[in-house]
Structure formats: C-alpha cells, structure tokens
C-alpha cells in the first residue's frame, strides 16, 4: 500500500473534521458517494449484533436531508464540535475500495461556552478513488458509548 494513499485518506479525514467543525454543513454531503451508507451506532450495539443506528442514511440524498433538517426543521441549542481524528489504519484494499479505520475524539461546545467530551469512537470507512479524489462509500461511526448527552444533532 502506498504512502500516498495513507496521506490522501488522512487529508480527507482532516478536511471532513474541519468541514463539520467550521459549520460548513452544506459541504458535508460532498464527502460521500451517491450510493453511500452513513450510520452512527455504538460498540455495544455492534457487540450485541443489533442492526439499528442512531442515524442511518443510505443515499447521498438522505445525507443531504440530514443537513436540511438541521438547518430548517430541527430545534436545538447552538453548538459546535471539535473533531480530533487519529491516523488512518488501512485495513484492506481492492480495486474497488479501500477500507480504513481511524479513532476520533469529539468535543461539543455549547452556546454558553460549556465544553464537554461529547463522543469518542472509531470511523470504519470504505473509500472509493475517483478522478476527483476519495469519496466515502461507507462510514460506520462506532461510538464507544451508547449514551448520548441530551441529543445528537450535528453529524459526527
């Protein structure tokens, strides 16, 4: 596996975190392929073999809808995240896809300045290499905890 690939995934991860942390939510769907799967679950649910997710989006349209809903429909207090994403570990590579894993730590900053450790976990990713760069075919966000403080509005 090439160093370029590791570097490209690391760059894509960094751009992904920055996109969300800078509140450029409308750009978030651009990280995904048309036929993507984005879901958020927990280590315990994976261990127990449970299928359901906190968020389950299996098309780029649904990814986009999540943002439209957050912007135009849902009510939640103003908040922001700070993502710290670890080095990607490439776990498999075929002609069609590269799978990788990376740890994340996400702090949540509320409008009154309260800053808490909101979520930790792993991204289990499948990437497709296109002429325009890497796109996510699949991102399974596995939170270490099944416990969500108050609500999970912004994507992880």
């Amino acid at each position: 596996m090439s160093q370029e690939l590791v570097f490209a995934i690391a760059q894509a991860q960094a751009a992904y975190g920055r996109c969300l942390d800078e509140d450029r939510l409308e750009d978030w769907p651009d990280f995904f392929a048309q036929d993507c799967l984005y879901r958020v679950t927990s280590a315990q649910n994976i261990r127990d073999g449970y299928e359901a997710s906190l968020i389950f989006l299996n098309s780029k349209g649904m990814v986009r809808d999540r943002i439209t809903a957050l912007r135009d429909a849902n009510i939640y207090e103003r908040q922001a995240y700070r993502h710290v994403i670890g080095q990607p570990l490439i776990t498999a590579q075929t002609k069609e896809r590269v799978t990788s894993e990376a740890s994340f730590i996400i702090a949540r900053i509320m409008r009154d300045g309260t800053t808490d450790l909101f979520a930790t976990g792993r991204y289990l990713d499948s990437w497709r290499q296109t002429s325009a760069g890497l796109e996510l075919i699949e991102r399974v966000v596995v939170c270490d905890s099944s416990r969500i403080d108050t609500l999970l509005a912004l994507p992880l």
């Binding site: 809808d65 009510i75 609500l151």
Partner: protein
Amino acid sequence: MAAEGSTVAPTPCDWPEGLTRVPFWLFQRDDVYAKEQQQLFQGRVWSFLCLEADLPNPGDWRATHVGDAPVVVTRNQAGELHAFENRCAHRGSLICLEERGKADKGFSCVYHAWTYNLEGDLTGVAFMKGIKGKGGMPPDFKVGDHGPRKLRVETHSGLVFGTFAADAPALADYLGEEIASRISRVFRGRKPVVLGRFTQALPNNWKLYIENVKDSYHASILHLFFTTFELNRLSQKGAIIVDETGGHHVSYSAIDKGPTGNAVYADQKIRSDSDYKLADPSLLHGFEEYEDGVTLQILTVFPAVVVQQIQNAIAIRQVVPRGPDKTDLNWIYLGFEDDTPDERIARLKQANLVGPAGYISMEDGCVGGFVQRGTAGAPSEKAVIEMGGKTAEGSESRVTEASIRGFWKAYRAHMGM
C-alpha cells in the same frame, strides 16, 4: 439546582387543588425525588423491566431499574421469570455488574461471595462457619432470613413488568382493558426482536419528560419534521385516551386521506408549516403494518414507560430517574421475527425519526432542559395546564393537555399530595 432551594421552598402542601397548576418545585427538590422513589416507584405501580426476548433461555438475566433502584430480572431453570433488587443482602453491593448475562449456577456477590439462586434467594455465605472453628456468623444466623427484596413479575405482549408492592393489583387490572389492548395492537402477537439500544441522558427531571410525551399539543408545533410530512397533524383524525386513574394514556392518529385542514395550520402562523422537502423521501416509505390505518400511537403506562409506534418505528422508552435534574431515557428499538428484509430496512430507516438523534424526537431531549433551566429561580411559580379544559378525560381533539393533567391526577394520588 435541586438542593439549595430545599430550606426556603414551600412545603409540599403548597400545591393548589385541581390539575391545572403544577408548581416547579416538584421538578427541583431532593426531598420530592426521594419520596417519589419510595412512595411512587416502589409503591403500588407496575414498572417496565425488560422484554421477554431479553431472556430467551433458563439462566438468562438482565439488569434494569425501577425508578432509580437497580433490579435484576432472571429466567429460572423452570422457565419462570423472577426479579429482585440488584443489591446484596450483606452490605449492599450490586450483585450483577454487567447489563446482561447467563448464570446457570446463580449469582455470587464479588464483595464477599454471598451467593444467590436465579429466584433471588440467598443460598450461601462465604466462611459462614468461620475457619477452623474461629470467626464465622453467629449460630442464630439463618440464610433464609436474608435476601434482596423481590418483585412480583407479570408480562403483557412480551413486555416484562414488575412491582415491589405485594398489594398492587394484577397487571391486567392495573393496565385496564383499553390500555392493554392498545399495547397488544402494536405487537399483534408477534415475537419482538431488539434492533438497538441507546440511552439519551436528559438534563431534566423525569416528570418533565413524561409531561412531554403526554403532551399532544406540542407534537406538531415543536417538531417540524412530524408536521410537514403529515405524520401527525392535530387536524388529522385521531384521539387521546386517558384511563380512569389518569396515569396511562394513548395518543393516536391516522392519516386522513380526505381534504384535511391544512388551512387551519396556515391560519395559526405557526413555525411548523413550511414547504420543506426531502431529497430522498424513501425515509418515510413504510409498509402497511396495521389494518386500522393508525400511523402513530404513543402510549404511556404510569409511571415511566412509553410504547411507541410511529409508522413502522416501534420502540420502548424506559424512563429512569437519576436525580432531581437528571434522567436516563433508554431507547429499545424493536422489529419482529417475521419482518421481511424490506420491512426490516424500512424500520432501520424510520429509526432516523426517533431516538437521541431523531428528526422528530431530538427536540424532546432538550426541551425538558429548557424548562429545568427556565424555572431554576421560580420554585413557587406554576405551569399552566389548561389546554382542552381542566379535567383529565380523553377527547377526539388533540389540542389538549388532558393526559398531562391525568398524569398529575395519578401522581397526586400515589404521592398522597
């Protein structure tokens, strides 16, 4: 927030008669919280414990809560369900430290290895006779005299309920026919399968969440997602059912395919009417699961469990108090054994509507906190609960707070307030 007010706040008697005023100290005080645990949760009520599906085999056990009391539910070797406090009879340690497991040989407390069978009976005390004739328990100590408190256990539609009260009515009588049949309606005799479990840590008193669930008035105003896609409009046909104790309720609605009152909403200039569209509406493409056309049924069993059907998103919400201003909301997403693969996918997609990240339920996670914070300095002020009248009777209109008044009616009865 909770403790400081205790000395200056009015006594618990400072609560006007009737059901339309609810003072905010009820959501703030440690003494109220403590009394609820003893008198209400450990009183003559039935609490949801777990699903029968959580305990398919003899020896299976699951940890749960009744109020904030930790409880273990087991299936013994004869296949019967039992429940007892998760509290060692010796010095009070938790007996089970995990969420669930299998204990064919019973349990052993990690602290001093006091042992219990699956029925919750104390069966052994380590070094009971001492070592070489020295130490040990006094000769008059009898193992049979000790043990964690046991709960009575009964089931309905695969849901396991328990009560600490020997004199509580039978579960069927506690639920009443109408509520029981409304629960059966969701399960239809099918075997539920757990699809996921998540906990939403709410920054508010447990009763604020219960009020929210019972509040059909807010549903289509706070939750834009709900309204715009016609999952639930107050102008749809539906009704509120409040049982005669007031404690249990059902709110349901069915899609009315005739000309409904869109104009009614437009007239009110409420935030929740927009031309919001989904790029991928397959989120809402469910399947016809219920012949009665009911697309939404929210049901509560007093004091603290919700049975939810929102289209094909079926869930149990167990409300666990964690202090005057903290509540755990345990979401258990359900499917059924006979789901086809397409039906299962529809459930997974519709799960986006509910839970801690749900399009129509995330607001419920924060709005209780808004009330908790909003009322911090006003323990003696009162909520006004008059929408739809002053009584706690069901109605065809869902522009009502009748089921909230019902909750307070049952609450006052159980608390003797």
